[in-house]
Symmetry: D2
């Protein structure tokens, strides 16, 4: 068996999630979400966010991001994000295609946006030749594994609200961020002024299924049509919903995320002493970024899946997940050391 450090979506489905799927497989249910599993899963979102939210299950992360953003803006409004954002780099232009909107990016080393980078976009307001600021999209944890504090999110949402701009949060790895800060979803999301989030779970042990969560239910009005028109409505939805029920049960989602984070920390600790390996980012969640000698990249790839993040400085990304074991880390570090 070959352990992958390429992405947390290389992992299998968590056994408890799989069991929930099996348990849901016994009789006929109305499709498209009018079933008891979807109802229960929706309630679990309310519980975890500490308020009544509106949740919509969708097929994948790109679908979550694009449908959520599209719902809140018009095509002549912009989407502002970090240059590192998944919506900019890894969705093959789906945001532009479906929203019809311009993405405005600002450079970021750690994947975070800062308010002072957003202020220049206000110069366009009211000038018909310029696309108008519409929504800010931040990623938590970021594509570089870093975590916004609630105060940092609050600062951005204050800026957004003051300027009639919406705030979207791409939470493809929200669990890793929540686990890292050890605070609740309510504290991280509901109280910080986020308008809508993409709640990721596939990278944290689900088979398939993400969620769009509107913090203010009124903002969700008519979103069901966007979900359908963006081709994100699953017919046998109970199987998605059942996964989310297991996800939240006994805080499984936090246990799995905490474990993944811990494995990344362990990996970072074990390689910190190796002189030829240089960590390029602090390790806050389940990703380790490091520069390694270029000549060992290929040999190491023959043993383990992982991505080269930046060819210029031989930076690679190693991701851990809920099933990564201490043994896996030991084996990986040994393989690395053997090559050096």
């Amino acid at each position: 068996m070959k352990r992958s450090f390429a992405s947390d979506n290389n992992a299998p489905v968590h056994p408890e999630v799989m069991q929930a799927i099996i348990d849901a497989n016994h009789e006929d249910y109305v499709s498209y979400g009018d079933d008891p599993y979807t109802k229960e899963a929706s309630n679990l979102f309310n519980e975890n966010f500490g308020r009544e939210v509106k949740v919509f299950f969708v097929c994948n992360g790109t679908g979550a991001n694009v449908s959520a953003i599209s719902h809140l803006i018009r095509p002549w409004q912009t989407i502002m994000c970090a240059s590192t954002a998944h919506i900019h780099n890894d969705e093959c232009g789906a945001p532009e295609k479906f929203t019809g909107s311009k993405l405005h990016t600002v450079p970021s080393e750690d994947g975070k946006l800062r308010v002072k980078q957003l202020e220049p976009f206000l110069h366009s307001v009211g000038f018909e030749h310029h696309a108008q600021p519409g929504i800010i999209s931040i990623t938590q944890s970021t594509e570089l594994g870093m975590v916004y504090t609630p105060d940092e999110i609050k600062e951005i949402s204050d800026f957004a609200r003051k300027n009639n701009i919406y705030l979207h949060l791409d939470g493809a790895r929200i669990a890793n961020a929540v686990a890292a800060l050890n605070i609740s979803l309510e504290e991280m999301i509901a109280l910080t002024g986020v308008d809508v989030m993409s709640f990721g779970a596939t990278k944290n042990g689900l088979m398939m299924g993400e969620a769009v969560v509107f913090l203010n239910p009124e903002l969700a009005k008519d979103f069901e049509y966007i979900r359908k028109q963006s081709m994100q409505l699953a017919s046998k939805m109970r199987y998605m919903s059942a996964q989310f029920i297991a996800h939240f049960k006994n805080d499984l989602w936090l246990k799995t995320a905490s474990h993944a984070n811990r494995m990344a920390q362990l990996l970072a600790e074990k390689i910190r002493h190796i002189p030829q390996v240089k960590l390029t980012m602090p390790v806050q969640t389940n990703a380790v970024f490091a520069s390694i000698p270029p000549e060992i990249i290929q040999p190491l790839k023959e043993k383990y899946y992982f991505y080269v993040w930046n060819e210029k400085n031989n930076e690679v990304r190693w991701m851990t997940h809920f099933q990564t074991t201490e043994q896996d880390i030991d084996d990986f570090v040994r393989a690395l050391e053997d090559l050096l």
Copy 2:
């Protein structure tokens, strides 16, 4: 347990398909389709189509239809289909939104298109004010449960080819059609000149997963970008692919479809003698359309899920699926008779 006659997507997942999912759940695999399950599933498509095809797994039927069609036309070209087509009625405008193209519909009682209905569209050719004929989309079996013969498909594809128009086949219920005609996919699809099809399987026992199949692999060039941009690329694709492996294994897909068809026939036979119930369509696959006295619609709905198809003539649709039993049919007919 309440058996549903509302739609074949109200059914659970077939046990053999579920087992295949479970069996695939044991280690790390590269995501997005670069895994052995996807390779094996793709090969099974080649086998069943009697040639090398190009297959792409997608999240749902709307996604299959829209991405396939979008790939083959430009926005100034039209999509021609029957007025009954799923792409026209049941996808919340997703085809127009994503392709940017006009849908041109022609009236149809049984869901089939005829070449003579398509000919008038040729009048637009070459006139810049008119959207240009781009692709014909037919549904097999149709939304009314009817089946095109291979000759009928061939006649449409000949017309299409002669006029530089593509032919798409929406096979949301392709298995029911293949089972009904008792011919191979090769005879029905590959030899009749279809360019691309949406291969449906969720309605026939899968949990989630459809496929876009290009009969001519060259036409598939660059489709991977359309799949991603249309938000149809699943990360943990092995779980979709594993379902298709089970689907084709020992011709499970035909057994389940044949069974569903048989149950519809049984239902039709048992109600044919009831004077207040009038079949409105021949029963060729797994759908039964009938006019029933309006006063029993609501009481019957309290016992069974089903849809009113046409309020004007009190026409309802009853669908069977792979798990519908003879007992279910008996119970349903008895409930019906009790109400009359």
Copy 3:
């Protein structure tokens, strides 16, 4: 000189309009509409509509229709129109491309919509699989030269308002309709509940320039971004505005339209007695529809430009315009008679 009966847009520019253009050509002005001509032209719209409206000049009729409609709906909402509508037949799919919305058409012989044809669309309301009724678009005068009475428009707008649907009026030939009914724009448009209209003028003597008019200024909010994003914002706008000033001055627009209407009446009168020529539509504005012997179509086309409207019944369309003379009509009728 060959007089054209093909379309009123085959006419030249009215001399008074041309003079207004020449008079505007003397110094530097700020572009994009911040000039005194645009201000004056806008005021003339207010005057003619009997209230404060919001008017935006655009480049052409397709641009007016598409931008206006797009502003008021979301892509999951439909555009309902007659099967004869310009937006459906003659804009090469621009409405679908730019709005992302589905066009729902109903059959019409005279180009008019009736409320009872619209009612079935309400069945989709609230069902996420169906695109939702968004806007009704009617054409005044219709593509068949017919005119809605204010009461007929009011009936449609009442239906629309009651069901949260907007009403758009394509007024490519609005002047001909106003002239035909001999009522004011206020009575025809402002008091009948139209939300937004495309005000056509190019077919009535302008060189280039149409207008989008919002009857309720609040509905116009942010339309300037739609105009720009739909590529309809002209830089040297004063030259459009100057044309509209001349258009409205001394009711030129009604004189020219009345004249065109009269010429069509004259033509109809003069051919009514010819047994081989059969009028297929009442003549209410500046279009004459007639069935003529197929063998004379080509010979007549060699002498005069005109369109065959329907090949099946040898129906042709002859349009008059502000410069068509009685002599032109006499000559045309003689040519027609010579061929019979």
Copy 4:
């Protein structure tokens, strides 16, 4: 009379162009381009490009850019341009809306792109998560008034061709560039490998009208549908075409552009000695960029129209045009000096 230095589109229409419009206004002609003026204007493009090109007249510059680019790429392909490009900054997101594509920008001080900035985009090739390089768009002269040499264009087109990427040139001010380099259109465009260009003329004395020019006529196939669907097809096209005939007659277009360039040079010379005014860009065409003391910006704006380009360094843009006189320059410089 207040001379504007805000933009060359604040100028009136050149008298010879106006006369051509007047001369075209005498009888009926078929609309949409099937008229002798359009034929003649098209031939003049062939002459000036030294080969048979395909030319399509459109309503405005944004329409030219967007329709041309859209024709050559699919939505999953990118548009690469300088951060200063009009398509990125000044078209209210029309490129994203109509093409559905991502704009990839690279920083530029002078408005020019360099090949080494484009190379990193090749890393995305073949990776389905990334939008694929589709077309490069350069502006000649640039938004900063700078001019690419033919060799510089050739270097970019070589890179493009080698990598199956198209090259678009936004020539909103192409005449100023041609005049500045004193070479032919053939040398600048046809021989350098440009695939399609937006040929601007409104800023150089026309009333309204731009052109999309395909250097290789085969690439133009089906563009007529894109023009119509992008709402850029004018009905009374002869009036656009007549303007272009005057534009090219006796090289009017180069005389006007040369004059505008000369006036910018004159302005630059006259202010070069003023210590508080600092030219921020070399003056190559008809734009002068300068930093001036912030306290005089407002007072100067009360006398002359112009734009603040960059608030951070008090940089302003002054543009000259075909009617700017030496007296205008003298007056302007005096006004400037009076304020200092």
